[in-house]
Amino acid sequence: MAYSNKVIDHYNNPRNVGTLDKGSNDVGTGLVGAPECGDVMRLQIRVNPDTQVIEEAKFKTFGCGSAIASSSLATEWVKGKTVNEALTIKNTDIVKELSLPPVKIHCSVLAEDAIRAAIGDWKKKHAGSEAAAEPVQAKA
């Protein structure tokens, strides 16, 4: 099955490959895997603590072209969004944008899982400090 042009573009010029400081309080790290194919994906975000905006996103993926393209696209999409906005990204949006064939849908699922895991990790760090500083600010 041929890759779409957008997949090839992201594969040849992946955006935001790299690492953020895992230990930093403002950084959330998501490490996820797709057992169907043995791919692993790490997605990291750096969140502005005041605005909750994702200011930086980095990824590193070991897997096929579609997995790399999906995570590359995911970093592009989350950047500039607030954490809550980023949580609305759906794997089907990625499928549409990259014209992924049915056999590669799991790559987009993996990318969504990675976003969710990174935000979850950040929230865990953040919730702790926030709860300590302002225990009243418990919004659902």
Binding site: V32, P35, C37, V40, K60, N91, R116
Partner: protein, 249 residues
Amino acid sequence: MHPVVPNPETLSAVTCWSCLKEIDKAAHFCAHCTKLQPPADSDYFSFFGLQRRLNIDLKSLEQEFYRLSRKLHPDVYARATEHEQQWSTQKSSLLNDAYRTLRDPIARTEYLLELEGVKLEEQSRSATDEARAQGKEKQQVVPPDLLEEVFELNMQLEEMRMSKKLGERDEQVAKDLEAAKVRFEQTLAGSNTDLQKLWQEWDQVIAGGADAADPQRIAVRDKMVALLNRRSYVRNLVRDVNEALTADV
């Protein structure tokens, strides 16, 4: 020929298209007039007249494969009716697929899990949908420390490939990878042993007559799914490490 255990699920009778006598639904040939029968709606196990058990006698599977190959071969039906020619082609191709799948332990297990209603991708996707709907994080199917290790090792592999491109060989990285390779090959061997134990459990549950909804049957099935999930990472890693280590600088 090794005596084949009849599968009760396929034993309801039908009639032979040629002599109209009653025959076993899964039979390839009529017991009365020996005519070839149309392909039944069968899985690979019942194609070979086997129950859905995971311990298979490979020797008798092979013998049965050769016997059926000869008897179903399209050449035999060159002068038969058109539908018999068609059936022989269909059955021959089914026979090859079934044999290839059943003789390989992993492919056999994966195939059985598929028959048992396991759809890895679909389950993964619906788990993601659920996580999104509930605003929660998805539970990863493999343990986080394994993912961590797989990721780290992939980083090392990449480093090694890069330095190779530059015509260098980093001895420390090569040594680390060699050690990792040994460790993961052991893990792989260990998972094969574990899988065989689960086969044993599975076959006992089936021998006990458990139906598809039996909780024990489902429990063993899910244990096999978890094991194969872990295994696929380790298998890929061993393959990649081997590639990186054997390719010369």
